[in-house]
C-alpha cells in the first residue's frame, strides 16, 4: 500500500502552471530526506510527464504514489493519443508545434528523459488517451 498518494489535475496548454506538480513532488521528497539523485530523477520524470500533458493532450492528471521502496508517477490524459510510440520514444522526434518549440519545449526529449530517469516505464496509448507509468526505486 502506498504511504502517500495524491492526484493533481494538469490542464491542456496551461503553460503558466507548468512545473507545479513537479515542484510539489520536489517539496514532498525533500521532506522525506530522500537522496538528491532520487529527488532529481523523480522531478525530471514528473516534469516531462506534466509537460507532455500540457503540450500534447486535451488535459489529464498526474498521480504520485510513494511506497517504502519506490515512487510511482502515473500520468493519464484524455487524448488524442500517440500515433507511433516507438517514434515518440526516439530522442529528437517531436510533434510539438512551432510556437511551442520557440519557447524551448518540444525538443523531442520528453519520453526519452522519462525512460532514462526511471527504473520502470510503461506506456499505453490510444486515441482516447495515454497512460504513462514510471517508477523510481530507492
Amino acid at each position: 500500500m502506498a504511504l502517500y498518494s495524491k492526484e493533481f489535475e494538469v490542464k491542456a496548454r496551461d503553460f503558466d502552471s507548468a512545473g507545479e506538480v513537479s515542484s510539489n513532488l520536489r517539496a514532498i521528497l525533500k521532506q522525506l530526506s530522500l537522496a538528491p539523485d532520487i529527488v532529481r530523477r523523480s522531478c525530471i520524470v514528473c516534469y516531462e510527464a506534466e509537460m507532455n500533458i500540457i503540450i500534447h493532450s486535451y488535459g489529464g492528471t498526474i498521480k504520485i504514489e510513494i511506497f517504502e521502496d519506490r515512487i510511482r508517477i502515473i500520468a493519464e490524459d484524455t487524448g488524442p493519443g500517440i500515433e507511433d510510440i516507438e517514434l515518440a520514444m526516439k530522442e529528437g522526434y517531436s510533434t510539438a508545434p512551432e510556437e511551442i518549440r520557440e519557447m524551448g519545449f518540444g525538443a523531442g526529449m520528453g519520453l526519452p528523459n522519462i525512460k532514462a530517469n526511471s527504473d520502470f516505464m510503461d506506456i499505453k496509448s490510444s486515441k482516447d488517451g495515454t497512460v504513462v507509468v514510471a517508477e523510481i526505486l530507492f
Binding site: G19, P36, A107
Partner: protein
C-alpha cells in the same frame, strides 16, 4: 574558486529578480535554450545562461537546483516569470553581452 551569485553584480551583471537567493554558490555554467535538455543535463549549482525568459524557466531552474538564471543580450524577463522568481528566490540576472562573453567572465571568476 567558489563564487556566489552576488559576486556577479560587480562584473556587469544586474539583478532583475530573486534577491533572496543572491548568496547562492555557483560551481559551474550551463548554456542551453531547450528546457528538457537543461532538466536532464544541467548540474545543481550551475549558472544557467538562456535567452528563454518566460515563467517556465523559473520552474526548470528550481527543479534543476540551478544557482541563477542569466539572460544575455539584455533579454527582458516576462513579468509573471519575475514574480515567480521573487517568490521562489531564484536570482535572475541580466547581461548586455552574449552568452559566450558571460561564460568567459564566469570562467575567469571561478578559476
Amino acid at each position: 574558486m567558489g563564487i556566489k551569485v552576488e559576486n556577479l553584480l560587480k562584473k556587469g551583471f544586474s539583478l532583475v529578480a530573486g534577491e533572496k537567493g543572491i548568496d547562492r554558490e555557483i560551481e559551474g555554467v550551463y548554456i542551453c535554450d531547450l528546457l528538457s535538455w537543461v532538466m536532464s543535463h544541467a548540474k545543481a549549482k550551475d549558472a544557467w545562461i538562456t535567452i528563454q525568459s518566460h515563467i517556465n524557466v523559473i520552474a526548470v531552474a528550481l527543479l534543476s537546483e540551478i544557482s541563477c538564471v542569466i539572460l544575455p543580450e539584455n533579454v527582458k524577463l516576462d513579468e509573471d516569470a519575475k514574480a515567480k522568481a521573487e517568490e521562489e528566490g531564484i536570482p535572475v540576472l541580466s547581461f548586455s553581452g552574449t552568452s559566450y562573453e558571460a561564460a568567459i567572465i564566469l570562467h575567469e571568476m571561478m578559476k
